[in-house]
Structures are given as structure tokens and as C-alpha cells.
Point group: C2
Chain length 245, copies 2
Amino acid sequence: MGKADFSPIADTTRRAEIVALLRRAILTGQLEPGQKLNELRISEQMRVSRAPLREAMRELVQEGILTSIPYAGTFVIDVTAKDIDDAYSFNKVMDEFAIEQTWPLRDQRFFDELDRRHETVKQATRALDTTRQIETALQLHGLIYEWADNSVLLDTWQRLTSRLQMYFALHQHARNEPVPAEDVHETYVQLLKGKDMLAAQRHAREHIGLDFEELIAYARSLEQRTSKGGRADRASPARSGPGGS
Amino acid sequence: MGKADFSPIADTTRRAEIVALLRRAILTGQLEPGQKLNELRISEQMRVSRAPLREAMRELVQEGILTSIPYAGTFVIDVTAKDIDDAYSFNKVMDEFAIEQTWPLRDQRFFDELDRRHETVKQATRALDTTRQIETALQLHGLIYEWADNSVLLDTWQRLTSRLQMYFALHQHARNEPVPAEDVHETYVQLLKGKDMLAAQRHAREHIGLDFEELIAYARSLEQRTSKGGRADRASPARSGPGGS
DNA sequence: TCTTGTTAGATTGTCGGCAATCTGCTTGTC
DNA sequence: GACAAGCAGATTGCCGACAATCTAACAAGA
């Protein structure tokens, strides 16, 4: 009997493609934080009716990168320094857990995949493609989440990833540095291959920490400007949580 | 000048109400795991067109309690023992973090709210309303997440809550016990009022743990039955994550 | 001048219907 | 009888148009 592992074919609904397009536009900074998404305009640009566009938007709202106010519109989320700080401290705890869960499951395939993703990051770095560099770095970092074999953990990470990518892309866009230092992930990869789990956890905390510190400082400086600058109203509406009456 | 703090008025779109209705139906077990949601039938029952219903469904898909397969339908998620186990171990870590973050922020208002929610649970217990008992118990437990002042943490908890409520409701439905023992939350509340943070964390782990153990055992027994029973196919499709190239 | 009522324009929310796709059955052939 | 092709029914995906709501400009009155 022929056994071939086929991966499921791509979703072929307009909705799915629209989701991908919008997400990419947001995460790369083509759509700026706070910006309103005009349904009619976008649907005409994409040559699509508003129905699938609106469904796509609802998905991205739940994914946490859009926010919707009834009869007012759907907006790209505003990024506050506190949001980044929250994500930062939460990420530290998650990292620790992910490494702990992944640690006993590491095998040759894990190491290979680790190297492969590391190589992809270096490739994007050499190509001076900052957007892709952020994306691949997050994918490298995400391996421990994919390997941990915990669906809830992975789900949470993927949600967080969207926001992180948006934050970092925002940062990069602002201070248009050519590209960060040569290889900041080398130590991380080596530690994940090693025998000292606690060292790996510690490094993950501090390594990620450094990137974040810079990011938060930047966000803070932004808020200084906008606090007197204007469009600071229109607070994010209370997320209609599961805890209803 | 008159200063009155008004909270934002309720969402008055059909979509929001549909979301609430569907979520309630799922979390209370009126809609069983694996069951298909027929759009036409539901829209007629609710006297609503399919557009807002479909948008509501997309939200619940992203919320993690529905799963959608293009051109096939939208289904209530299947609950596997591993899912519960994953949520369990993840919840332990989150609890620890939430207590740590909340600890220095506790004040009189926190204690009052804690007592209020505790009272609500006892009330539901006396009324023999198991569904509401689960709901209120989760709200009691959720206070440390609301108080922790971390938007990402709270968001993650609210997502997890949906699934937890579904799991526990499922359990309760099956073994139709009258109502659990009198007051299992007393110690938890007292520890949160006390001075020993580590003790509170430890208790949260073990207390929640016990409930989970029973739940997982039940789920395992269910899978024993369904593994030969039939509708085990139609695996959950790969969640189109943010990483797509 | 400030506040309040009105109105026109734009945008979101919703509806009913059509097109695309899947599923199961029937039919025909070997 | 087994199997492939084709067909009908049901269901999801998508579209265009209408209704409900918001926003901003303008006018009227205190």
C-alpha cells in the first residue's frame, strides 16, 4: 500500500486570502496603528465584495491586531508602551515554559530544523531585508513553541507573534537602521543544543529582553509626542469577553 | 462641573448578540462537540440573515471554540484528553504568573471583589445551578487575571476560559452529579488575602489540579469509546497561523 | 459666542439571491 | 456484483442593494 504524507491543500476561499493580505499589510507597517480600514475602498481595490472582507476583518479582530467599534469602523490596534511591556513580561514566562516542555523532546530533527531556521534568518540578514528578518527571527524563536507539543501554548504564541512582529516592524520602520549586528542568535541556538536547560532559559529571557528594552523606549518616546499631538482618543472598546451576564 | 463615570453602552449589533447566543449554547453544552452548525437553519431560528451569523461564527472560530472547514461547514471543536491536559499544564504556569503580578496590587477593593465573587459562587451552589456554578467559579478564579494589569495575560485567560468552561460543562453534563462539595474555594480565597504568595501559588496549582485530574480521566474514557465508535475522523484543520509566507 | 436642532453625506450593518462546491445516490457498463 | 460517470439535492461562499447609524457642516435661538 502506497504511503505518502500529503499536506492539506491551501485554503481556496477569498476570505482566507484577504486575511493573509490584510495581516501582511498590518505586520509590515503598510497599515499604520490607529488607521481606519474603509471597507468600500479596500473591497474595490481587492476586487472583492464586502462580505468576505468583513468576515476576514472579524478574524483579525479576534486575532488581536484589529479593533472594531460598531457603526464607527475597524482600526489597526494602537500600540502603547504598556502593551509592549505586557507582551514582554508575559513572553518571558511563556519562553521559560516552552523551553521546559520542549527540552526532553529535542531530537535530531529538532536540531536540524533549528539550524535551518537559523540559516534562514542569516540569509534575510545578508539580503538586508529587515521585514523578512523580523519574520524569520520570530519563526526561529517559535520552534520551541511548535516542538513543545502543547496546542494551547502554540495557539497563544501564534497570537502573540502577530503583535510582536507588528511592534518590531514598527520599530524598524521608524529608525531605519541598515540591519542589526551580525548574528545575535548564535548563542541561543547553541544553548538549545546543549545540556543546560536553565542556561537556555536564562539566555532566552535576557536576549529577548534586550530587543524589547529598546523597543519599549522607542514606544515611550512616541507616546510623549502623541500625548499632546491629537488622535489619542477613541480608546479601544471593552472586548466582549466570554464572561457575559 | 458634574463628573459622572459612564461606562460605554452595550454593543447593539445583531452580530454581537449572535456571538453571545452561540457562545452560551456551546459553553453550556446545548451544542455538542463535533456538531455541525447549519447556517440556514440557525439563521432562520434566530430570525437573522446569514451575513451577521457568518461573521459571528468567524469570531468564535478565532476564539477557539469553533472550527471551520471551507465548503464543508463550521463545527464545535472536538475535545480530546490531550487538549484538556495541555490547557491544564499551561494554566498552571499562567496561574503562577498571574498571582505574582497581582500580589503587590492587592488592595481593599480587590478583597471586596474577591468576597463578592466568592459569594456568587456559593449562591449558585446553593441554587444547584451547575452551569452557573462553573461560570461563577471561573469568574472567581479570573479575578487574579483581571487584577494583574497585563492586557496580554488577560486576553489569554479569557480565551482559555471559554475552553475551560466548555470542558467542565461537558463533564458535569455527563456525570450528572447534584453539586460538588460545599465550599472548595474557601482556602483559595483566604490564601489570596494572606501574606504567603508561594503558598497561594502552590494551592492554586493543586486545587485546580484536582478538578482537572477528574476531568482528564473522564475525557480519556470518552475517547476509549469513540475510538472504535465512528465519528473520529474530520480532524481539526491546521489553523492558518500568522507565519504564512 | 455658545449651545442646540437639522440635514446631507458617507460608512457600517443587514438582507435576499445567485454561483461554486461538496455529498450521496442513481445509472450504466463490464 | 463491482466500479466509474453523471446527476440532483443541499450547503457554503460570494455578490449587489437597501436600511440603520454616525459624522460634520450649517442654521437658529438664547
